[in-house]
């Protein structure tokens, strides 16, 4: 077969063409529900990228998606499909809430460290059970992590309604976190405040997310553990033959994955809402799947894809505000991106292969 692409094309063009296809179909969907796709794009770009205020939201969403995207990425490298990021992130939120409400924290740096630890621990714990069941009992991790998403949301409802809700409060949420836990938003950080003059939700967690990208890259490509994870993901029998313990790799990878998903909640729970509410994750755990696929399972790609989805989310919210296109258009685009980058990638490669052969001088 001649449809082997140059490496740069495979890395750059395949996701871009997938994105283009997703965008074209989304435009057709918008046309089909009787709206104007160009106007929609205009509203999205203006709302998400046209002002520092818009960027503040775009970066806020992107921060969450970096964490969940990295969570899916690291699991993918071990050939594990973690669909449970949503539940793990919700549990991470519970960890954050428990830490923030436990003590009158003197300074946000201490609170961030402790809450980050709580978020990672709770997220990892929620991933541990499906991981164990996969490693020891062979229960398919895709099904168990999906079930754990549903169990997590029920557990959070129980905790909020019956345990953490302050007496006399009607809505199911925790009390407000004490002021010592409030994370500085970008408009309060020297340097960033030159651009962001008004209050924005994007906060210092963005820097933590960037550090997480570097950390995950280092783990995967610069440590022995990362090598073992990737070897296991490529071929379990080969890894086993090389003395790699499958149980250990599955457990460690899923704990890391769950911890990363859990860490997301320092962005939304601690940094933005400053209390734990129902459905705090708003689907960000699922976006992680699209982000990881779009980012070709590389932390740098995840960063770019997270920015793209941050744009999509903020832009989609603006659509819901200013046009009669329902906000659910975001889920359609998300589904299309996952479809083209993750399942129809072979089709995209074939398409590009034709283009390449068409463009290059024909051999006699």
């Amino acid at each position: 077969m001649m449809d082997k692409l140059p490496k740069w094309a495979d890395l750059v063009l395949v996701p871009l063409v997938s994105l283009l296809l997703a965008a074209v179909i989304s435009a057709l969907v918008i046309l089909a529900i009787g709206q104007d796709p160009m106007e929609a794009l205009n509203v999205m770009v203006t709302g998400a990228l046209g002002s520092p205020y818009g960027w503040g939201y775009t970066l806020y969403y992107a921060t969450s998606f970096i964490f969940t995207g990295l969570a899916v990425t690291i699991a993918f490298h071990a050939s594990l499909f973690n669909i449970g990021g949503e539940g793990q992130a919700q549990l991470g939120g519970l960890g954050v809430a428990l830490v923030c409400l436990a003590l009158p924290w003197p300074h946000w740096t201490l609170a961030l460290l402790a809450a980050g630890l709580g978020a990672a621990l709770f997220g990892a714990a929620w991933a541990a059970i499906p991981a164990y069941l996969q490693a020891r009992r062979g229960s398919h991790i895709v099904i168990t992590t999906i079930m754990f998403n549903y169990i997590a949301s029920a557990l959070i409802v129980f905790m909020l309604v019956d345990v953490l809700r302050p007496a006399g409060q009607m809505d199911p949420a925790t009390a407000r976190f004490p002021p010592g836990t409030n994370l500085p938003t970008l408009d309060q950080i020297p340097g960033f405040n030159l651009i962001f003059t008004k209050t924005v939700p994007a906060n210092v967690t963005l820097l933590v997310a960037l550090a997480a990208c570097v950390l995950v890259w280092a783990i995967l490509w610069r440590t022995r553990l990362g090598y073992e994870i990737r070897a296991f993901g490529r071929s379990e029998p080969a890894a086993r033959y090389a003395g790699i313990n499958p149980f250990r790799i599955i457990m460690i990878t899923m704990l890391l994955s769950g911890a990363l998903a859990g860490l997301m909640s320092i962005n939304n729970v601690m940094g933005e809402s400053e209390r734990l509410v129902q459905n705090s994750t708003e689907g960000a755990g699922f976006i992680g799947i699209a982000v990881a696929l779009m980012g070709r399972n590389h932390p740098f790609g995840v960063l770019l894809a997270a920015l793209l989805f941050g744009f999509l989310y903020q832009g989609g919210a603006e659509l819901g505000l200013w046009t009669s296109i329902p906000i659910e258009l975001r889920i359609v685009v998300q589904g299309l991106v996952i479809l083209f980058t993750g399942a129809l990638d072979q089709m995209v490669r074939m398409l590009l292969g034709w283009l390449f052969r068409f463009g290059s001088p024909r051999a006699a």
Binding site: I143, V332, G335, L336, A343
Partner: protein
């Protein structure tokens, strides 16, 4: 718990197990042919919206049913193209189609009816009505067996009986017909089927199409029989529970019946906190009951399945030798 309550709970068990059973059998055809399908959920949702919408617009539940099956087949075809023709990752394709369905259903329902992504409530000929089996009223007074016949087995919609009949039908097709033999073979060893001169691609598309039809029935049941109309995310994970039931059933038709009845029973219990509390003797939070079907699914997957061996070629795209 008295006998009448038990009959009531078993009656709603049957009612709630119907979509699970149809979806489970749908998954069975696909996975027996070697195509994993976590997109059962999305197909059901799409079918629920299409059938709810068309039934609301035309007033005919049968046209609704047809639309539901067509919508589900459309997604099934997409899954087939991605996983059979282009040999993509079947799990990811399923996840993608679930998201697609989740968004599209709301967009379309909002465009058609402008009621926040719901379809208008259905009644009369736009819904499947409850059938009374022959002699149901005559035998009601017979002790034990009377209520079982008249209140438990009778009084469901036609789709429930279709689902129950689909079990022996599936078993017959799978184990007693040439098509069934080939279907099972293509899920275990597609190369052998290919060598025998039978089209692997054709068989797999046929299996995926059957999956689409059965999911269409399941989704239409949700919107036009179980509920009166479509609501956003109304399938609420039933497609995934059906998958879990399929594993529990070890990919066998009769097993699928018992497994989905069990999961239907869990769902029926979650609707009756009073009964659960009466039996357990302590107050149980509603959220625990909501989570019960999912927790039990995990428990079942973790321990009580015995050894569940999936079809050997499941999830593997078939590459023809050259």
């Amino acid at each position: 718990m008295d006998f009448a309550t038990l009959i009531q709970i078993l009656d709603s068990t049957l009612r709630l197990a119907t979509p699970l059973l149809l979806a489970c059998l749908a998954g069975l055809f696909s996975e027996r042919a070697g195509i994993f399908d976590i997109g059962l959920e999305g197909k059901m949702l799409m079918a629920a919206m299409a059938s709810g919408a068309v039934a609301a617009l035309t007033g005919s539940v049968w046209l609704g049913l047809g639309a539901g099956i067509a919508a589900s087949l459309l997604l099934a075809a997409l899954h087939g193209v991605a996983s059979i023709t282009f040999r993509g990752n079947q799990l990811i394709s399923g996840v993608a189609l679930n998201f697609l369905a989740s968004g599209i259903t709301v967009l379309v329902a909002q465009r058609l009816f402008g009621q926040g992504g719901r379809t208008p409530p259905l009644d009369g000929a736009a819904r499947f009505n409850h059938l009374t089996l022959p002699f149901a009223d005559a035998v009601r007074d017979v002790p034990i067996l009377g209520p079982i016949y008249a209140d438990l087995l009778s009084g469901h919609t036609i789709l429930t009986y279709v689902a129950l009949l689909a079990v022996p039908a599936t078993a017959w097709v799978l184990y007693r017909t040439r098509f069934g033999l080939r279907l099972r073979a293509v899920g275990e060893n597609p190369a052998a089927v290919d060598t025998a001169g039978i089209s692997v691609v054709g068989l797999r598309y046929a299996a995926v199409a059957i999956t689409g039809i059965l999911c269409g029935l399941a989704g239409a049941y949700m919107a036009t029989a179980l509920q009166a109309g479509f609501g956003r995310e109304m399938t609420a994970g039933r497609g995934y529970i059906a998958l879990a039931a399929l594993i529990f059933a070890k990919w066998r038709p009769w097993g699928a019946l018992w497994a989905t009845l069990l999961f239907g029973f869990f769902q029926a219990l979650a609707l009756r906190p009073d009964v659960v509390e009466g039996v357990a003797g302590v107050k149980i939070p509603v959220s625990l009951l909501d989570a019960l079907p999912y927790i039990l699914t995990v428990l079942v997957l973790a321990g009580f399945v015995g050894k569940a061996i999936p079809p050997r070629a499941g999830g593997e795209p078939y590459v023809k030798e050259r």
